[in-house]
Amino acid sequence: MEFQAVVMAAGGGSRMTDLTSSIPKPLLPVGNRPLLWYPLNLLERAGFEEVIVITRKEIQKMLNLDTKMKLDFVCVSDNMDMGTADSLRHIHQKIKTDVLVLSCDLITDVDLYKVVDLFRTHDASLSMLMKKAHEPTEGVPGQKGKKKPVEQRDFIGVDDTGKRLLFMANEADLDEELVIKRSILQKHPRMHIRTGLMDAHLYCLKKYVLDFLVENRTITSLRSELIPHLVRKQFSSPPSLQQGLDNKEEDQKKKEQASLDIYSFIKEDNSLLKPAPDNSCWNDHRGDMNETLHEGKVRCYVHIMKEGLCYRVNTLGLYIEANRQVPKLLLNLGLEESLVHGSAQITDRGMVGSDSIIGPSTQIGEKTSIKRSIIGSMCTIKDKVKITNCIIMNSVTIEEGCCLQGSVICHNAVIEKGADIKDCLIGSDQRLETKAKHVNEVIVGTEQLMEI
């Protein structure tokens, strides 16, 4: 086994609490499938047979996935605030090889081998996936005006080939200027500074990185701590081991320090592979005859997707956007089932757009038009309803003459006759009264709000 795959599905979805207060993030329906299905499907397509899923108890109970892979659920208690690194540390005993870590909110049609091949070719410590961030195309319910991206921008420095990750900084950590060490530019004289890239939270990590993580308990997050640490470590030389020999005490100290240093975790290659770089005349840079890979022990690579789908569903806006794109993705993946489920009862097929998904056992009345929408299972949609650009989850009832536009309707909501809703988020078990009119609102249960 070359890789073990780990899917992180314990996160709370803290950036879209309106949605996740009633439905845990991994279970959010996207194209009538739980969000977690997408990363698992990505792994399945790549040929993985076993996956470790880190999640919470109640999520595991509710989860119902059709997959041929063997899923190994590891539950973490939800009252412990565990970061991604903590979670990985939690399961480290199960990890025997290099590891592929994914987040449960990743929806992408990337060819996973591209990321993995980078990892293999360059004997990298880390390889990751990035994609140009999406500009939000349409408004998000409950948001007034155009919102500026709240998140701080990341600065990513890649080398000439666009693969080697040389530099990483967040806008929040920088003052007035971007500082780049000379030694980096000495080795990689051309550096492209990219902004506006989204990290897909898909990481290939060497086993030793995990060992390092186990020892370094201070690191709690992969994205904000471990990855930047690795990127920085690429260009600092390992501590020299000779100095400590004179003095035993010092030696002891060194050892203690070294245990926290990533270099001490890097195991030497087995004897066959080791001389290979020395004996080959290939090197990965131009202009001089220095050693391949500049002797750097830690190497980080990134695959930047130029085209294709890649979404991280971590905000309401992205959730809506992902739902919009998913019909395309599902068709591309060649899943034979049609977008309209066989058990759905639709009286007037002509009114259902080809870009909509309709779940099983859903009933749709006459003269009801559905465009660019996703409708879950067991919904009842009565006559003369207009649904455009909506996401309707399971067991929702929509009565006659409603007009829904650009909204998200959660489980078991009931929308009574003649309601007119535009750009709203309707929470679970909500009941909208007859002829209610809402524009750009978030309507969720009060008791849920109290919980938050």
Partner: protein
């Protein structure tokens, strides 16, 4: 440069690229340059490139030249700006096209296109002195940030570079600045508008910083195939020289004789051996590779010559080893000499069994040897390092008569140049080793690799995460520094008998330089002067000697005090400083009364203020003890009486 003057390369480059009119601006030794060019093919009628001279002693910088260009309105269209030390075979037409297109698309926005040559860090023609890092917009080739990197460990890029709509900012450290720029006429105007621009760097920086205000942009063109280099120091000189011999600058190779000089005919044979007319090579001598030998040079037997340039009419003895040597014209090398990577100028002479380690320079007409070894980086010149001797030395250069006696008179250091040697070891200052190091570095240009080492060292020390643990050098207190400076000034004043007016001037300028308030100024001055005798004589003085040493000083510097002590508060400040001094030096305590007395008699301090000070209540215990000093009390008493008397007198 490979037996051809540097400026010929520059002019050939310009002509080859299609330039039809060239202005040569010269300042230093302009007559010689003019003479050289007038003899050359550039000034013949057939020359496709009309060369004009503009000479002035007032040109101190590129800025001066361009302001002059603007004033005389010499250029009306785009022009190429190069320094006279550029060696290149670059064809400018493509860059020029790009430049013109940009100018057409957006009128007058792009004012300059800089030409760079791609070469990785560590390339031998990249010198630290001229090393740059650039941030560019890879889509439009616009220069966003231009920075010299000498001595920098980290490069800083202002965040504003990344805020704009530019998607892909590229940071490049693999560029060699050819110092060739295509400029629009605006460049000269901008130099006129901004009289503080001295160099092209100033210009580029100013333009980039004010880009948003002025709306001017700079673009760049990167060449990968062509050759271009700017010879700013000896390191570059050596590198470019060897590149010419190795035909990297084709078609500017020695055998092409592009200067069309009949003395510059060479035959080119394999291993890049170039031989001029009438070269004689002794039995058993080997020209290994990359050797250029000028016309009429005679080489003895059993020599080994590699990677070297030898000028015209040189005489080289037997069993000589030249490796990476550059010999100019009429150099004499005796037998059994070994020269590595050094430059030897016109008519210099190296005697028997001399060994030159790498990076030595022998200036014109210098003689070294016999039988000595010059250590690495030795520079020998006929001009003595001390300026005072320069005049008569130049005389000795020319005369040639009575050389022997003059040598003895002046005493060439036999240790440095050998028993028959002539010349002075070039050192900035004998006392200061660091200075010499600097001098040598500036001549050869700091080598690239030495820097890399230090780089890795620094990496080691900051291997851990904290990227920002920059150790700030302990900053000396401004007042401390100021005090030292004042002390130095006064010492000099004392030694050289400088008038008080000048001292005041100097101290004033120091005061502004260190931003010292008047109060601090007063305290420092009093303290320095009172401590002065302690500095001059032994630290452990008894009060008697101390006072006798101080008295003449005080008398001398009375105007100094008077200049600063004007208001009542100044008097008080001075007194406080005096008190402080005596509190620090207990042993001298007894002389305080005398000192105050002197100040009073010299009319520096007024009696009211002294009395005022004496009666100050909020003093420390020590201060109180000081005031109990008998002599001081006597003095005060005397003062009080004197005042009464005088006031009595007034009443009368």
């Amino acid at each position: 440069m490979a037996n051809v003057a540097m400026i010929d390369y520059t002019l050939e480059f310009l002509t080859a690229t299609g330039v039809e009119e060239t202005f040569v601006f010269c300042c230093w030794k302009s007559a010689e340059i003019k003479e050289h060019l007038q003899k050359s093919k550039w000034c013949r009628h057939t020359s496709p490139n009309t060369v004009r001279f503009v000479t002035s002693d007032l040109y101190r910088s590129l800025g001066d030249v361009l302001r002059d260009v603007d004033a005389k309105s010499l250029v009306r269209s785009d022009f190429i700006l190069v320094t006279g030390d550029v060696v290149s075979n670059f064809n400018i037409s493509k860059a020029l096209e790009e430049h013109k297109l940009r100018r057409k698309m957006q009128k007058n926005v792009s004012v300059m296109t800089m030409i760079f040559k791609e070469s990785s860090p560590g390339h031998h023609a990249r010198c630290k002195e001229d090393d740059i890092v650039i941030a560019m917009d890879s889509a439009t080739n616009r220069v966003l940030h231009y920075q010299r990197t000498q001595g920098l460990k980290r490069f800083r890029f202002p965040m504003s570079l990344f805020q704009n709509s530019i998607e892909n900012v590229e940071v490049r450290h693999d560029l060699l600045d050819c110092h060739i720029s295509i400029c629009s006429p605006q460049v000269a105007e901008l130099f006129t508008d901004n009289f503080d621009y001295q160099t092209r760097d100033d210009f580029v920086r100013g333009l980039l910083v004010n880009e948003e205000v002025l709306g001017n942009q700079i673009h760049m063109h990167v060449t990968t195939e062509d050759y271009g280099a700017h010879i700013c120091n000896l390191l570059m000189y050596e590198a470019v020289c060897s590149d010419i011999i190795r035909r990297w600058v084709y078609p500017l190779t020695p055998e092409m004789n592009f200067t069309d000089d009949k003395n510059q005919n060479y035959t080119h044979s394999k291993h890049n051996i170039y031989r001029g007319v009438d070269v004689s090579l002794g039995h058993g001598s080997v020209l290994e590779e990359n050797v250029l030998i000028g016309q009429g040079t005679v080489i003895g037997s059993n020599c080994s010559i590699t990677n070297s340039v030898i000028g015209q009419n040189c005489r080289i003895g037997d069993e000589v080893t030249l490796d990476g040597a550059v010999l100019w014209d009429r150099v004499h090398i005796a037998d059994n000499v070994e020269i590595h990577h050094s430059v030897i100028c016109d008519e210099a002479e190296v005697k028997e069994k001399v060994k030159l380690k790498p990076r030595c320079v022998l200036s014109s007409q210098v003689v070294v040897g016999p039988g000595i070894t010059l250590s690495e980086g030795t520079v020998i010149s006929l001009h003595p390092p001390d300026e005072e001797e320069e005049d008569d030395d130049q005389f000795s250069d020319d005369s040639g008569v009575n050389k022997e006696s003059k040598v003895k008179l002046k005493g060439y250091n036999k240790k440095d140049v050998g028993s028959e040697g002539r010349g002075y070891l070039w050192k900035a200052d004998d006392k200061n080793e660091d200075d010499e190091e600097e001098q040598r570095q500036s001549l050869w240009g700091p080598a690239m690799h030495s820097e890399e080492e230090s780089e890795s060292d620094s990496d080691l020390s900051m291997g851990s995460e904290e990227p920002d643990s920059r150790a700030a050098s302990p900053q000396l207190d401004d007042i401390k520094v100021f005090q030292n400076e004042v002390l130095g000034t006064l010492q000099r004043g004392e030694e050289e008998n400088i008038s008080c007016d000048n001292l005041v001037l100097e101290i004033n300028s120091l005061k502004y330089a260190y931003n010292i308030s008047l109060k601090e100024m007063m305290q420092v001055l009093s303290k320095v002067i009172l401590e002065f005798p302690l500095q001059q004589l032994d630290a452990n003085l008894d009060s008697q000697n101390y006072f006798s040493a101080l008295l003449p000083l005080l008398k001398n510097w009375t105007p100094l005090f008077k200049n600063y002590i004007k208001r009542a508060s100044d008097h008080l400040n001075a007194l406080c400083a005096i008190e402080e001094f005596f509190l620090e030096h207990d042993s001298l305590c007894t002389s305080i009364a005398k000192v105050l007395m002197t100040f009073y008699q010299l009319e520096i301090l007024e009696e009211d203020v002294i009395l005022n000070w004496f009666s100050l209540r909020d003093t420390s215990d020590k201060g109180k003890q000081l005031r109990k000093n008998q002599r001081l009390q006597k003095f005060i008493q005397w003062l009080e009486e004197a005042e009464e008397e005088s006031s009595d007198g007034d009443q009368d």
